[in-house]
Symmetry: C3
């Protein structure tokens, strides 16, 4: 039991890994919050994708009119999909990066810039801010993930 | 070689990590099965997204009518996307949680409830069950992932 | 500091883990490149999803005509979503597989076949190649991930 605990906390005792765990959890929670934002717009705009979701708003024909798309719902959904496309590679490559032995300060710089950029991206998408606000925040996060991938491939390369 | 093997099996010898590996593999396989369900509906309902996919059903104009959306196909696709939005955060946060040194019984409770909730969610989506069946199963899985994220942030916090 | 470095490089010193890190980074980068391909088609085909993205192409009514879908954009987006549905399970299950103590040669075989299949899948989708080109490349990658999941469950099973 003791030995197991020691083993299980090995990674989490490493400072770079702790920083990774903190920022990965934060951006994954941020991504999950998009579900709540979509649900909020679906309910307030009365715009649903499934017939069974409209039943509390009326029966039969009167409920069918709520089976529709709404610009705010679609915008939140695009923001969510963009998170999947960008936060998932960050979490995967970031884990390998954290295990590749970077300096704590360099790692923190990567994690902080990515997290800040993705939070800005969400605001830029939902407000929405004029371009290139959203485009730039996307590009910053994208570049950080590429920078980490470069370090991973340089350290681990075994093809 | 021996030393490497010992290192490589370290994590997998830890009981919490073994439980995580088991449930993460199960929910990822469950998510992958959504592809087969979508393919089944595309073929039986003859509803495709790509012109090249319709060619075995006819040439030229007669094949074009199969380039269409179908309610069952779209329902399976929404279920698949909902899995991506919820199972991916579980797999990412669950890994960090498993490394944060939780009790085996607490960890098993989290993994089992999440896995059960997501299997129920799939049935609720595909049958479909009347609401709030699908909504509740979604909320249970969502809450489990948040509970694990709280433990990760409490243990690892290094901003 | 020294001790920490040693800990942090433990996994990355393992050859199977290094191979996993290399191929996982490659397929995640490949998936991220789909964003650039979609952006390329959105700009060259002038087909956007957000009003604020069309503003550099004209003001008011003249910009609205660029808020539309385009077959090439939609094709790139479907390829990207298919990557999310298949590469994400590979990265998750592949990590557990790499930690389950497989032979290096067996692991390399899995990683190489998956990576080759997904690169072929992207070409088959974008060119597009006649079926069953895309279907087969999808099935090969899918089977590799299942094979790894089988090994994970056999090694880790703790329900």
């Amino acid at each position: 039991r003791r030995g197991e605990m020691a083993k299980s906390t090995q990674l989490i005792d490493n400072e770079v890994f702790r920083a990774y765990a903190t920022y990965a959890a934060i951006v994954l929670i941020k991504m999950m919050l998009m579900s709540l934002i979509t649900a909020y717009f679906r309910i307030t705009r009365k715009a649903f994708a499934n017939p069974e979701d409209t039943e509390s708003f009326g029966k039969g024909e009167s409920a069918k009119k709520f089976l529709r798309t709404d610009p705010d719902v679609e915008r939140a959904r695009r923001g969510h999909l963009n998170d999947l496309e960008n936060i998932v590679p960050f979490v995967g490559i970031g884990l390998l990066y954290a295990l590749s032995g970077p300096d704590l300060s360099t790692a923190l710089l990567h994690f902080r810039i990515f997290t800040g950029a993705r939070i800005l991206h969400t605001f830029a998408y939902l407000i929405p801010l004029p371009q290139p606000g959203r485009g730039l925040s996307w590009a910053v996060g994208y570049s950080v993930t590429f920078s980490m991938a470069y370090k991973v491939l340089k350290t681990a390369w075994l093809l």
